[in-house]
Symmetry: C2
DNA sequence: GTCAACTAGTTCTATATAGAAGTGCATAAC
DNA sequence: GTTATGCACTTCTATATAGAACTAGTTGAC
């Protein structure tokens, strides 16, 4: 097989080492979304483990949301539900209107030198800066500055803009194998500076809501830092606790 | 034993029925925080199940955060970490100051007739309304209106104010056996009306941040609805996703 | 008194096995 | 053609067992 470039700690129990191994193979793109993995029995035979141990590893990956186990059918790679979990804020509060996904427009992409705070959180001094504007029915809603480490996303600034959809995390995953497992948001309130006012079509000093987000990979390292600004009077942020 | 007033569906697998049974006994206060539950072997014998099945039930409760399993020591009821999970917003953003828990002052408690929206979410027409003001070093920070169903919290309005600490969820749990398992927050920005401005010592029309929270019990029913308002310029809300 | 060794009891890991429950496809019946 | 039936295969449930890893208290040596 020899599919593992790095190897789990030998002192870890077998089911955890198997979990890590499968997680790596998922990240390496060995299976496509909705494609069935080998069955419990096959995996047990291949790894010389008992079925119970294999089940324990797969169950954990299923709990973590990477896999989906369908009784009678098989174990499938789940296509990450990015929208539901990581892109659920900023619903426009119209009267009866249901939330629709805003359109996205890339404004700029460039390699920049980060501030010290940014360099610390991303752990590198070479980052790519992305500016993006989200609109809903032609109305500018949200202006985003996004920073990602160049080492993990080589050539991101060269991807044709039309290949980048309204959501970035799928792009991270499909083109760079980087899976966003967790994120931390921080919501605060402020006023529009010159550039934000320009982008959002407001006047300087108007109230804006700001979301600072740090996104983490499964390994725990910070993968992205972004700050999004939008009109405060339209802002609505939902969060589930527990 | 006969400790179960209601009983799980017979069609459910045994490990789930056991999980429900133990969850009920926890809610009924059968064990104190940090007190050890019976061992896997004892539970297996008492319920005429195998140890593996018992372990599966306890593991699930451990995943849900109700229990804590310590190898070699036993299985313990976890004291709910209310502060960390459910009361972590509204940090004052001073320069180097670490966050400290604000003091709380109850302003009023009364049985009121709810609005239609409120009656729908709480599922009753008899609710108790609580007004509360949170301060940090004498500075008013946050004004809260809290609504709870009278049926689940009978006599809450009669509890001496000095018996109610700075956090409500422990009171819900200890005096009424209601455990807040989950909550949904919704953050938005607006302007201060007359009463809010009065409570918070600001002038009418100043920007305020608003957090609407619906809290749910383990059974899934809504247990509390509250709206908290605070100065927008001091506001900072943290949220963890994934 | 102090410290080490032992011990009973606990959870954790791993294996093996049997059958139930569900899926998807091929084949047969009509 | 359409509908059953059967079958191979999958995951799920439940049991049993053996030993490892760990905890907390007791006993014993000094």
């Amino acid at each position: 097989m020899a599919h593992a470039s790095t190897v789990s700690d030998d002192r870890l129990p077998a089911y955890l080492r198997l979990r890590d191994d499968i997680a790596r193979r998922i990240a390496a793109g060995e299976w496509q979304p909705d494609e069935a993995l080998p069955s419990d029995n096959r995996l047990a035979a291949e790894h010389a483990l008992s079925v119970g141990t294999v089940r324990k590893a797969l169950q954990q990956l299923s709990d973590e949301g990477l896999l989906e186990r369908r009784q009678g059918a098989g174990t499938f790679l789940r296509k990450p539900a990015f929208d539901a979990t990581l892109f659920r804020f900023f619903q426009v509060r119209e009267h009866g209107a249901e939330q629709s996904i805003p359109t996205s427009r890339l404004i700029s992409r460039a390699v920049v030198t980060p501030t010290k705070h940014l360099a610390d959180t991303l752990g590198t001094t070479e980052v790519i800066r992305i500016e993006r504007l989200r609109c809903l029915s032609e109305q500018p809603l949200l202006f985003e500055e996004i920073y990602i480490p160049q080492a993990r996303f080589p050539g991101f600034e060269l991807i044709p803009a039309e290949d980048i959809g309204p959501l970035l995390y799928p792009v991270y995953f499909e083109r760079f194998g980087v899976f966003v497992a967790r994120a931390e948001d921080e919501v605060s309130f402020g006023t529009a500076d010159r550039t934000i006012a320009l982008r959002l079509g407001m006047t300087e000093g108007d109230p804006v809501a700001r979301i600072e987000r740090t996104a983490f990979a499964m390994t725990g390292e910070a993968i992205e830092w972004r700050v999004a600004s939008g009109r405060a009077d339209r802002f609505r942020y939902r969060s589930r606790i527990g």
